[in-house]
């Protein structure tokens, strides 16, 4: 693996774009580390954190505490944990894919589980990528950087709006 430093223009590009990243994560430690990693990698997009599946769905479809939010405004990227209180990650993924508005939102499952059936089920439900969170924070940082580069910069998504 070659060590590549994050190019600075990513943040500028994304910042200019102003698109949102939805992070679905119930663990506050992971949330903090995730945000740290994103920031450290210069990703300046607006980051919305949902702490459980219900919150995530509320945000996506403009319901509950996010009532009134325009559901057409889909996030640039969803980083989805699987093990979530209330509604778990796979259910969130299923609902998201079932809805026309969010059908094509890039969803990266970012989880601790390396269980085969989680991986299979995630892809089956339409996850775009499946990444296991490394325990080593250095590796975690690197993974986050690469995700940012790929999904926010290189990858082109369907523009539903």
């Amino acid at each position: 693996m070659k060590w590549v430093r994050a190019p600075l223009f990513i943040s500028r590009f994304n910042y200019m774009d102003g698109k949102t990243i939805l992070v679905v994560e119930d663990n506050p430690d992971d949330e903090a580390l995730m945000l740290r990693a994103l920031r450290k990698n210069g990703i300046a997009n607006e980051i919305v954190v949902a702490h459980d599946g219900v919150e995530a769905l509320d945000y996506l479809f403009g319901e509950g505490q996010y009532a009134g939010r325009d559901a057409e405004e889909v996030p640039e990227l969803v980083l989805l944990d699987l093990k979530l209180p209330k509604v778990d990650g796979l259910d969130v993924l299923r609902r998201l894919r079932d809805d026309d508005r969010t059908k094509y939102v890039p969803v990266v499952v970012l989880t601790t589980s390396s269980e085969q059936r989680d991986i299979v089920e995630s892809y089956h439900l339409g996850a775009n990528s499946y990444v296991t969170k490394p325990v080593d924070f250095v590796e975690f940082m690197e993974a986050t950087r690469q995700l940012g580069t790929y999904w926010l910069l290189l990858n082109r998504s369907v523009n539903v709006a």
């Binding site: 430690d29 992971d30 580390l33 740290r36 093990k83 589980s113 269980e115 325990v135 080593d136 924070f137």
Partner: protein, 736 residues
């Protein structure tokens, strides 16, 4: 008596009679002379004297005649004085010449008489010979063919009286068809020649034709040219001869065509006759057998016995085997033994003892008998009831098994109808079964209920097959009934137990499934939840160093670093534990697995990820096993990772994978290296989870890899063990 007859040839009575006759004649002569003198008849004395002499010579014979002549001469001499004028000597001369004349007459007469009686005797003798001959004889006229004379025997044999014969010709005693041959023969025959014996056919008065042997010769009979014939009736003899010939032919044909072997031996035991049957039975040709000793037809071990028995019999007449029928083994030309039944007979031929044996090959019969006996034994010993029945359902055989099951003895059952075994509500069953049998169908294992003699019911399984006579006509059935009361009970019990077991399996499966689910959710939680805090520890430790590093001294930074190392180590432990639990839980899918190519892939990847110079890999090709590829790959990864890891400090690392030997048909595979090795003292600890023989400082690791390998091998039904030496390397052997 005989002596007397021989000593008394002299017939006194005849002698007295003849001399008395002579004296009577003399008296008569004297009387006639006296009468002649008395009546003065002038008649010569000579005539009565001559008559007297002739009579005496004829009837009395020579002696009395001479005696008479002497007496007459005496009387004459005494009564006749010499005639006047004659001298004494003249007188004497006259007297002597008279006497001589008389003697002469007597001689002539008596001689004549003697000749006549001899001729008569010869004629009589001949007549007797002819008449009393036991063979028929006749004389016939050659011209007229008329019988001139026939004897007694001819009348007896031909049935004609003597008078009838004399009115017939020789043609009359011939059958019609023989006459031309007779005439032809007569024409050719020299009338004087003696002919025969020749065979002719003659006809008797009653029309029966007889065979006669004719001998004839020519003769003059009563002045006629005739033939004298002697006929010998040989009808009987010819018939006997023919019968003998016929009988001979008949017996020869019989012997030749008999399927039995017929062999005749002489006193030495050598064969003088062997028929075609013998040739067929023993495989030798008749030529090969004739003249050879009969022991060639016996198995070698029986030859001595035959020899002893036969010579004892010849000497003492003692038989130690039955001559009517005895069973003995024989030997075929090809060496095989044949079962024979023999009978013997002895007879005399030209003063020599001969023994004939009629031999029957009973090999097949023996086999049949044995097979019959076996069948009978099987039937008798069978636990099943084996019952014979007619198409009408009448029992005609009943084995002990039937008696055991149904309680009726054979005597009670035979002749009864099978309906006696049927419960009333099943009475129609037998009819249906029998009609199936009559159609030639089999009835197999029909389970039904029958009633025993004591009224109890018995569950039976019935199998019936039709029985046909030699013409193929179905005449009945053989029925096998098995008491299945017990087996039915066992079956029911088995079913109940099976059902119970199934129920238990279902319950246990449900339990297991729930345990499995729990385990899965536990693993899931472990994988997910245990790692989050570790990540936090690691992440925030790093954040501390990064953000507040300036305020920490080196010791502080070291502590934070240790926190990070520990959390990462624990993360690896969790990973390995999960892997181990997955190996235990996952289902095994069997297929052919190429261990060689998997090993090569792993080795190649190892080289890419942790490149090292000078490593030698020795991977044997084409090691293929039957197992779960995913699990075996994990096992090999662990083993090869270990080998790679523990050779990291070796100068010339060598890692090999090969099949070392076959042990009881099971291959043994080996992954070996020349790395750090281990002390065999701790060999048993190698495969325990969390067991390590090296410190983490020396070689990194969690101590779960080999436990995982062992699980995988065990799940394949194999075994794994290790050999090693510190500093020399380690070898891991496994079977699958």
């Amino acid at each position: 008596m005989l002596l007397q007859q021989r000593l008394s040839p002299f017939d006194w009575k005849s002698f007295v009679r003849r001399y008395a006759l002579t004296l009577g004649i003399l008296a008569l002569i004297v009387a006639v002379q006296t009468l002649l003198l008395f009546f003065s008849i002038k008649l010569s004395f000579t005539i009565p004297i001559i008559v007297g002499l002739v009579a005496a010579g004829w009837y009395g014979g020579r002696g009395p005649g001479i005696f008479l002549a002497f007496l007459i001469a005496l009387i004459s001499a005494s009564s006749t004085p010499p005639a006047p004028g004659t001298t004494q000597s003249e007188w004497l001369f006259a007297q002597i010449s008279n006497f001589a004349l008389m003697i002469f007459i007597v001689f002539v007469i008596s001689e004549r008489k003697l000749l006549g009686s001899k001729a008569r005797e010869a004629g009589e003798r001949y007549e007797k010979l002819f008449q009393n001959n036991p063979f028929p004889m006749w004389i016939y006229d050659l011209e007229t063919l008329r019988f001139l004379a026939v004897n007694e025997a001819a009348t007896v044999v031909y049935g004609y009286s003597s008078d009838e014969f004399l009115k017939m010709t020789v043609k009359d005693i011939r059958p019609e068809e023989e006459i031309p041959a007779l005439l032809d023969d007569l024409g050719k025959t020299d009338p004087q020649a003696t002919q025969g014996p020749a065979l002719w056919k003659h006809r008797r008065r009653d029309g029966a034709v007889i065979d006669v042997e004719i001998t004839s010769d020519g003769l003059l009979y009563e002045g006629r040219s005739a033939r004298r014939v002697l006929a010998n009736d040989v009808t009987e003899r010819l018939r006997a001869e023919k019968e003998l010939r016929d009988s001979e032919t008949q017996f020869r044909t019989l012997a030749e065509t008999a399927s039995d072997a017929i062999i005749t031996i002489d006193e030495s035991g050598s064969m003088s006759f062997a028929n075609a049957g013998a040739a067929r039975m023993f495989g030798y040709s008749e030529i090969e057998m004739i003249g050879q000793n009969v022991t060639m037809l016996m198995p070698e071990q029986k030859r001595g016995q035959h020899h002893d028995g036969f010579s004892r019999f010849l000497k003492t007449g003692q038989r130690n085997i039955s001559w009517k029928s005895v069973e003995l083994p024989g030997r075929h030309k090809n060496g095989s033994e044949i079962q024979l039944e023999l009978s013997f007979a002895e007879y005399n031929k030209d003063g020599k003892r001969c023994f004939t044996s009629v031999i029957r090959d009973i090999t097949e019969r023996k086999k049949a008998e044995e097979s019959l006996a076996r069948s009978a034994a099987i039937i008798a010993s069978s636990d099943d009831a084996i019952i014979g029945e007619t198409l009408e359902g009448i029992i005609n055989s009943w084995n002990p098994g039937a008696e055991r099951i149904f309680g009726y003895s054979a005597a009670e059952a035979i002749g009864k109808n099978l309906l006696m075994l049927c419960p009333p509500e099943r009475a129609s069953e037998e009819g249906e079964i029998l009609s199936k049998i009559a159609r030639g169908e089999y009835v197999n294992n029909v389970e039904t209920v029958r009633v025993c003699k004591d009224g109890t019911f018995v569950d039976v399984s019935v199998t019936l097959s039709p029985i046909s006579d030699s013409n193929g006509k179905i005449i009945g059935a053989s029925k096998i009934a098995r008491d299945i009361t017990e087996s039915k009970r066992v079956k029911d019990e088995l079913q109940r137990l099976n059902a119970e077991l199934e129920q238990r399996v279902v319950e246990r499966t449900i339990e297991l499934q729930s345990v499995n689910r729990e385990l899965e959710s536990f693993s899931y939680s472990v994988s997910h939840d245990l790692r989050a805090p570790l990540r936090a520890m690691d992440g925030f430790s790093l954040a501390l160093v990064e953000d507040y590093g300036g305020r920490l001294d080196d010791a502080g930074k070291n502590f934070l670093n240790r926190i990070r190392i520990a959390s990462q180590q624990m993360s690896r432990l969790i990973d390995d534990l999960l892997s181990l639990s997955r190996v235990t839980r996952s289902e095994i899918r069997h297929a052919e697995v190429d261990l060689s190519s998997i090993t090569k892939e792993i080795v190649e990847r190892l080289g890419e990820v942790q490149p090292r110079k000078g490593s030698v890999f020795d991977v044997q090709d084409d090691i293929k096993v039957y197992g779960d590829e995913r699990l075996l790959r994990i096992a090999l990864e662990n083993l090869l990772n270990n080998a790679w890891k523990f050779t990291s400090k070796t100068d010339k690392p060598q890692i090999s994978f090969k099949r070392v030997s076959k042990n009881n048909g099971n291959s043994i595979y080996c992954v070996s290296d020349n790395g750090a090795g281990f002390d065999m003292k701790y060999a048993d600890k190698l495969f325990g989870a969390f067991q390590r023989l090296h410190s983490t400082n020396e070689f990194d690791g969690t101590g779960i890899g080999l436990a995982t390998v062992q699980r995988i091998i065990n799940r394949h039904g194999g075994r794994i063990w290790a050999e090693g030496e510190v500093g020399k390397g380690a070898a891991f052997y496994f079977t699958i």
